[in-house]
Every structure is written in C-alpha cells, then in structure tokens.
Amino acid sequence: MVNALFFILAGLAIASAISCVYHKNPLYSAISLIGVFLSLASIYLTLAAPFIAVVQILVYAGAIMVLVVFVIMLLNLDEDKPITRLRYLFPIGGALGLVLLAQTMFIFYAVTKAPQPASDAGLEVGKTMSIGTAMYTEYLLPVEIVGVLLLMAIVGAMIMSRRMREPKIELVKKAEAEEA
C-alpha cells in the first residue's frame, strides 16, 4: 500500500520536476514546481513526518511560490528567448548531468550498504512535540541563528526593492490631509 503510494508520488514528483525544467514559460515552471512540493509533502506524510509535511506546504507552496508567482505576474515575464549561442554545449551539459546522477546514486548506494541498523523509534520522531523539544533544547543556537538570518533577509529585501526616488503619491497624501 505505502509502496504503491510512494511510486505514484515519486512519479508525480519527477514528472513535475522535469516539466519545471522543460517549460520555457516561467509561470508553467512555477506551477510544476508547486506540484513537486505537494508530492514531496505527501511523501513526508508517508515517512511519518506530518509536521515537516505541513510546514513544507506552508512555507514552500504557500509563501515562497506565491511570492515567485506574484513576481512573475508583476513583471509580466514572457517566454525565454530562443538560445542563440553556446548551443553546442548542451549535449555536454546533459552528459555532465548524467555523470552527476551516477555519482549521487553511487554515494547513496554506498550509504544504504553501510552497516548502521534501522531504528523503529521513527514513529514518535515526526510528532510536533518531539521536534519542538529538540528545537528549544539541543538545537537552540541554530534556531536563534536562523531567526537572525530571517531578520537580515527582511531588512535586506526591504532596502533592495525600495525605489530610491519618492513615489508620486502627493494626490493621495493631499486627500488624506484633507480627511484629517
């Protein structure tokens, strides 16, 4: 049962990933990527990690990709221009990709052959309580660092995307002054 579910979801994930890379239109790519995220979230559910699954949907599908879609719509991006130069490098890129795949697979194969035993304690691990406990005791420092990182990202994004000139909203300001 779980096996069949895994293969369906894995197939979905790979198909969506390929279509994400294949499509020239950024919005189609974004939608395919959301498909990857959702199938991965379902795979996390079968791995007894409901918290990570839900956070995956919340953060990736619900926040990051909404931002991406918003930016694509805002900039009104067209399809990629046809590639004119470096075309002869494409087969080499594909071959390098295959080499990378082979390497990754070999490493993973070696890892699964390693003599560490599997543990049965996995069921409790995905629960919110165990994650929360670990987060605020053993791994407090990384969590704090992530907090600082997010703050830096907020400040950076605000400075970056701000227009340097004053926006032309005198009319609005005037109207507000009249109201007050």
């Binding site: 779980v2 096996n3 293969f7 994930a13 790979i14 990933a17 994400c20 890379v21 950024p26 990527l33 990857v36 995220f37 991965l40 795979i43 996390y44 791995l47 990690a49 918290f51 990570i52 956070v55 995956q56 953060v59 990736y60 926040a63 990051i64 931002l67 991406v68 930016v71 694509i72 805002l74 900039l75 991006l77 990629d80 221009k81 890129g93 990709g97 295959l98 990378l100 795949l101 990754t104 697979m105 890892v111 699964t112 543990s119 304690a121 996995g122 691990v125 995905g126 994650i131 670990a134 987060m135 791994y139 990384p142 992530v146 990182l149 997010l150 990202a153 950076g156 970056m160 995307s161």
Partner: protein, 101 residues
C-alpha cells in the same frame, strides 16, 4: 510493504540532478531560482528519509533550517530580481553584463 531507504534516496538523487541541470540550462533568473529550490527540496527529502530510518529528530530539524534559509533566499533573491528588472527590463542572466570589459 514499505519502500526502503534506498528508494527515497534514489528519488532525491534524481530530483537533485534535474534541479542541477535546470540551473545550467535556464537563462532567466527566476527559472534558476526555482531550480535551486528544487535542489534544496531534494536534499530535504534525504534528511527526512534518514531521520525516519534512524529514528532521530535531527534530520527533521535540519529540514526546518533549510526551509528558513530558502525563505530568506526567496525574499532577498526576488528583491534582487525585481531591482535587476527595473534597471534592465529583463530577467535574463546574460543581460547582467555591466562589469564585462
């Protein structure tokens, strides 16, 4: 019947490779950004699979950290892309050539 650790790792490897080739082949910045997210997700899958395999919560915490970094990356990266678009009316990375020559 549950799939073993190997199946999850294989899926993760395939997704990672697709993402990596995508970063090489894509030319617009948003597409590259999305492929990087895809690679991060592939890595997350290995973390969760190992966490399940060894019954250890550390892997899931790492996923959490990776997600936060991805969120920070999205905020700053999209900010850069918007600024770049304002200056060049394009998000093609080939147009980011002001320092050339």
């Amino acid at each position: 019947m549950e799939p073993g650790l190997g199946s999850y790792l294989a899926l993760s490897g395939i997704l990672f490779t697709i993402g990596a080739t995508g970063v090489i082949f894509k030319r617009n910045a948003i597409g590259m950004f999305m492929c990087i997210e895809l690679m991060l997700n592939a890595v997350n899958l290995t973390f969760v699979a190992f966490s399940r395999h060894y019954g250890d919560v550390t892997g899931q915490l790492f996923v959490f950290v990776v997600m936060s970094v991805a969120a920070a990356e999205a905020a700053v990266g999209l900010g850069i892309i918007i600024t770049f678009f304002r200056n060049r009316i394009s998000v093609d990375v080939d147009d980011a050539s002001i320092l050339k020559n």
